[in-house]
């Protein structure tokens, strides 16, 4: 097997919540606690989970917007977490991010030319007519007319702004793009356009995507594999087809049950699974399975003690015992 493009090993990210008088951290939140992940060149890996599960933090840590507390991120075998800013700078161009919010991610005082060209200007990679040509070409490629170059973001719709975001991410010819909920702020009618654009660009530039989303219906058509994240950990990792057909983790099943299915004849047996309670306190994680308290399949004594490893694609002690309901009907 070829070496993965990106490998995340036992990654932890913690945020200080409270400090004592000496400035030492006394309480901290575990946003990401022990994530292992591999991204193969050219694939799309979706990272799904409810809000607050740490998926955005994981994405931000991979692009370098957030410091890892421990663990390592290997890009083509080189550990990004061990690098200083200067050493890492050239690798920043290989791993780019598309942000969730098309409004706050574009500087309102910059024209599209300045926004899209900034990665090239900041490092002095291109200037003058070369800069202009590259910006125009990239704008055309994402479906924006270069005539808009000197306009400000306030003149554009959410979908167009997200195209600007994509253009800015891709102008430095990256290999890996971390897309953090790139369509969740958009109208449903615009979503498909942006998703199609992302797919076209992937084929054209040979991109690898880490696609972060809370919406399983968006992921289904785009991703090769899906990682389900819960409470800072990956609880299930499988190919898209397998996951949608036969989820292994009760949390995945619950997520799937929330996906609206337009055709009543395809409606599964299960119906909507409503999860009780909220997430556990991230400053004080419970022993055993973090999902146990909300899980309808949890067995006391088995699920709430000891650390549960991610085995055979699911982090669940009852993996294989349960008959869990996916959303894709098995063709039988």
């Amino acid at each position: 097997m070829t070496e993965p493009l990106l490998e995340v090993r036992d990654l932890h990210v913690r945020f200080p919540v409270r400090r004592n008088m000496l400035g030492r951290t006394t309480v901290e939140n575990h946003a990401v606690s022990g994530v292992d992940l591999e991204l193969r060149a050219g694939e799309t890996l979706a990272l799904v989970g409810e809000s607050g599960c740490g998926k955005t933090t994981l994405g931000r840590t991979i692009v370098g917007a957030q410091k890892a507390t421990s663990g390592s991120i290997l890009f083509e075998g080189r550990d990004l977490t061990a690098m200083g800013g200067r050493e890492r700078a050239p690798l920043r161009r290989q791993i780019r991010m598309v942000f969730q919010d098309p409004f706050s991610s574009l500087n309102p005082r910059f024209t599209l030319r300045q926004i899209i060209g900034d990665p090239l200007v900041a490092t002095g990679e291109a200037r003058g007519s070369e800069l202009e040509d590259r910006i125009a070409a990239m704008m055309r490629r994402v479906g924006l007319s270069p005539d808009y170059m000197d306009r400000y973001p306030h003149a554009f719709s959410g979908g167009q702004r997200q195209r600007v975001n994509i253009a800015r991410a891709l102008i430095v010819n990256p290999r890996l793009v971390v897309a953090d909920e790139p369509v969740s702020a958009l109208d449903v009618s615009v979503r498909a356009q942006i998703l199609n654009l992302l797919r076209e660009l992937q084929a054209e530039f040979g991109l690898t995507y880490l696609f972060i989303s809370h919406d399983l219906s968006v992921v289904e058509n785009l991703a090769d594999r899906v990682a389900v994240m819960y409470f800072g950990r990956i609880v299930e990792l499988a190919s898209t087809a397998d996951l949608y057909e036969r989820p292994q983790h009760p949390y995945t099943e619950a997520l799937m049950s929330a996906v609206p299915i337009p055709d009543p004849s395809l409606k599964g047996r299960g119906g909507r699974i409503l999860l009780p309670d909220e997430l556990p306190d991230p400053a004080n994680p419970p022993p055993g399975c973090a999902f146990a308290r909300r899980c309808r399949h949890a067995e006391p004594g088995r699920c709430d003690t000891g650390a549960i490893p991610l085995e055979d694609g699911a982090r669940c002690v009852r993996r294989g015992e349960l008959d869990l309901q996916g959303i894709v009907e098995t063709t039988s």
Binding site: R60, V63, G64, A65, A89, R92, R93, R96, M97, F99, Q100, D101, S104, S105, L106, N107, P108, R109, F110, D118, P119, A122, T123, D150, R151, Y152, H154, A155, R168
Partner: protein, 371 residues
């Protein structure tokens, strides 16, 4: 078509243009801006605009009242006659107090002209010239449109020179304060942590010292024999060192709020250094607010200099500033006979109001997207 054009104009307009359009709608601010522009011209060309030089002194006419500029003459030998002129003075000595008082004398005509030859000076310190915007045709004749001081100096000329000193103390002082305030405020808000703590504690320390005694103390510490130019710069610096704290707080607040915006994160990921992110990406988001704050803090600076000089702790004669001029008007016995000595005070009020109006107008205009 015109609606489409207007929309087109708006989508392509830069922030600066949007602010300017909004500013123009604010009548009072717009008018004040012109007044300040005129003041800047006076500052730049003050040797040319003042009828006499700063050191001009006419001991023949002390505390002479203002003359009225007249366009025609009905008392001349030929009856009615056109010609710009002022009336000369007759003097009268009170036999008991020995005080000399001056009255305009319609019989004595002093011809006044534009671009007349007068005392020599160097424009911008470079170009030798002897023409003045307005002045008596004969340089030895008295022409005191705002009257004279107790020393026999032309109040108008003094006022023109004082405007240069007082307004520039305000402007240069505020620029200095803003340089400090913006850099320290930006660093404090952007990096946070112990840097923020240190800067904020320093600001609190400076703010907790009462400013008038501090000015007085610092000003009193200046050696008395110091030249007027050095004194000017030290006063400006003292005012700036006290005034930067308010702005630093404001800038810090803005940076704190902006720091978590995604466009800041994305600028960092794009490869910009911290300085570029701070001053290229973040600062422009509120540059118009800074300009507004700038023009709102100039009045404080001008008033501070005026107060210091008036108290005799700031600039001293032979330097002229509004405060120095008003020192003359601080004795009631003098003022009762020569109310025109208060003209510099009117000037202070006008300029301070103008800066405030412009600041208000800019602040309102600074957010064109709110409409």
């Amino acid at each position: 078509m015109s609606v489409a054009n207007a929309e087109m104009k708006r989508t392509r307009a830069s922030q600066r243009k949007l602010v300017w359009w909004a500013f123009k709608k604010h009548r009072l601010a717009y008018f004040s801006a012109w007044l300040l522009a005129a003041m800047l011209i006076v500052i730049a060309l003050c040797e040319f605009i003042a009828p006499f030089n700063a050191r001009h002194r006419d001991s023949e006419y002390t505390t002479a009242p203002p003359q009225v500029l007249k366009l025609w003459d009905t008392d001349g030998p030929d009856g009615f006659e056109f010609g710009l002129h002022v009336d000369g003075y007759t003097s009268e000595q009170d036999p008991r107090s020995l005080r000399i008082t001056y009255e305009p004398d319609p019989e004595d005509r002093v011809d006044v002209g534009f671009f007349v030859k007068g005392e020599e000076y160097e424009l911008f310190g470079l170009i030798p010239m002897d023409r003045h915007l307005i002045g008596p045709e004969d340089p030895d004749d008295p022409m005191y449109l705002f009257g004279t001081t107790t020393d026999g100096q032309d109040l108008l000329s003094q006022l023109v020179y004082a405007t240069r000193v007082s307004a520039s103390v305000g402007i240069i002082g505020v620029l200095l304060a803003f340089l400090l305030g913006i850099v320290l405020g930006a660093v404090s808000g952007y990096f946070g942590g112990w840097i923020d703590n240190t800067v904020q504690r320093i600001i609190e320390l400076i703010m907790s010292v009462p400013s008038i005694p501090l000015w007085l103390g610092l000003a009193a510490a200046m050696p008395a024999q110091m030249g007027p130019v050095a004194r000017y710069f030290i006063i400006t610096t003292i005012l700036a060192l006290v005034a930067w704290t308010g702005l630093a707080r404001e800038v810090r607040g803005r940076f704190l709020a902006l720091r978590n915006e995604e466009f800041v994160t994305s600028a960092l990921l794009d490869g910009s250094g911290h300085a570029r992110v701070m001053f290229r990406h973040m600062l422009p988001s509120f540059s118009s607010h800074i300009i507004a704050a700038l023009s709102l803090s100039i009045p404080g600076m001008i008033l501070a200099e005026t107060a210091l000089s008036w108290l005799g702790m700031g600039l001293r004669p032979p330097a002229v500033s509004w405060g120095v001029q008003l020192q003359d008007a601080s004795k009631w016995s003098v003022l009762s006979g020569a109310p025109w000595l208060l003209i510099p005070g009117i000037c202070v009020v006008l300029v301070v109001l103008a800066f405030n109006f412009v600041g208000d107008g800019l602040r309102d205009a600074a957010d064109p997207y709110k409409h």
